[in-house]
Amino acid sequence: MTPFEPVLTKGLGELDLADIDVYESRGGFGALRKALRDLTPDAVVSEVSASNLRGRGGAGFPTGKKWSFLPKDGRPRYLVCNCDEAEPGTFKDRMLLEKTPLQIIEGLLISAYAIQAKEIIMYIRGEFLEGYRVFKNALDAVRSRGYVGQKIAGSDFSIDILLHRGAGAYICGEETALLNSVEGKRGEPRLKPPFPANAGLYGMPTVVNNVETVALVPYIMTRGAKWFASIGPEKSPGPKIVSVSGHVQRPGNYEIPLGISMRELIDEYAGGLRPGRRVKAIQPGGGSSAAIFEEDLDTGYDYESLAAKRTMLGSGAVVVMDDTACLVRSSMTLVRFFEKESCGQCTPCREGGQWVHRLVARLEAGEGTDADLRVLNTINTTITGTNLCPLGDSIMPFLSSVLTRFPDEFAAHVKLARCPLSAGSSESAA
């Protein structure tokens, strides 16, 4: 295995990292004290920029750059933490929330200091009841030690963290939908521009950062931007938690140096496939990402290498399908997800999702026709790129990629009027 020392998951499973005494005994809040004592806010932004940290939520935008976009016009600024994790295959933020809430809080405080925020809003997915309770307890403990509130750790910096529970909606993970949700509105994405940096929460300059992103900030403070930038490829450096699931022997979250091969990730970390099985398709970056295949296993797991394969690293969710998986059913499952979670604002997404779902469900049930296959091959361009937010653009990538790579599997569903992988008729629970 590529030599690497994990930071975000170090001690996990051995120590109670949600306990503030445990956290402090391992140097916790040292980064916050260092930033408040030794660094100006601009110096913190510079350090994070120099580290080349890219946002871990899905888009991979450079964090330091995002922070530096805020206008210097004296208006109050907000820092919003996105813990609305719901991208299919992703379960890293929930783990961080439930197991390591203190490094999230420390990262939030340093980030808020860097951008001189007025308030921090922690947006926690509604389904994450346990994580919410763990985080709330951790926050109370942090407050009692003087790290949150007035004049933090003896400095002139004061800030509080407001918890906001979501109420069930995947789309609220999109940053402008999330802001609408915090404001008590329907979680519909906003038209951009204006971007949140200029007109975010309550119309004020706002930064929305993912949980894993902010959790990395304390380590950049204590170990330095050079340490961070030295891990993995130049343009996509740093540790990354990857959620691996599907047909592997050891599904789970693995903290890796970016840039290792897909093969190493699946075989060395996730225990490989079941005996005698072969990789058929892999979704490398969440439900929105196009598939890669057996011939792509030597691709590096980093932003650039995956982009070169016309897919993406996204949220860092790797779902492996072996040769027992029906790709028509897999596609239907994902298309149904996007259909259900569409907010309904944009016609191509709202209507397209429904029609594609019906069409693929028909194929899966053995009731599809050759005309359905022809329509499927032309539908991509009529949905992708025609919506306000990336949800509509996420309906087709996986389906298109497996349809292109395995056209015979789709055709066989029409010809045999059933799934060629199962002996009997396919059970459609859609």
């Binding site: 299919p88 109420a167 995947y170 599904p251 789970g252 979670e341 907010c343 629970a429």
Partner: protein
């Protein structure tokens, strides 16, 4: 509006940026108290926030964890997205439907169990998974589902959708 509810609403508004920002937390609180978001709760929310009743209803309807219909004391939400599907969620869903005698979104005739098929619950490494009153259960086989069901039948849960 009951005085207790009005007081809670005012506390929530004070803790948030404005009335509307407190709307979802207020509805979550009402749901925990009443078992679902009742028509009265929608009226109360409109009164407190200054929004119209129609606006409140439109916002409430957007969120899948706010129920504008009576639900059981036990809400079972089975994940059906890709990783769970690969791990046997389709078989679990078929079993759960047959066992409870309901379809997706239905409530058992005795009003005790509400069953929903939901999208990714972020527990893909322990597929298939479900939530029971927002608590996780992992690697749920049909046999494990039956065992859990018996256990839940003998439980008096604190709330189906806890607000805090």
């Amino acid at each position: 509006m009951t005085p207790a509810r009005e007081a809670k609403g005012k506390t929530l508004i004070a803790a948030h940026h404005d009335g509307q920002s407190a709307l979802i937390p207020f509805l979550q609180y009402c749901q925990e108290e009443d078992g679902y978001v009742t028509p009265t709760a929608l009226d109360d929310a409109a009164t407190l926030t200054g929004l119209t009743r129609g606006e409140v209803e439109s916002i409430a309807s957007f969120y899948s964890l706010l129920f504008q219909r009576p639900i059981g004391k036990h809400v079972i939400q089975v994940c059906r997205t890709l990783a769970c599907m690969l791990g046997g969620a389709d078989e679990l869903r078929a079993h759960a439907r047959a066992r409870l005698g309901v379809t997706d979104g239905g409530t058992t005739s005795d009003g005790v169990f509400t069953y929903e098929e939901v999208e990714c619950l972020a527990a893909c490494d322990k597929a298939p998974c479900l939530q029971h009153n927002l608590r996780y259960h992992y690697n749920v086989t049909p046999a494990e589902f039956d065992r859990l069901l018996e256990q839940w039948k003998n439980e008096r849960p604190e709330a189906a959708m806890p607000a805090e």
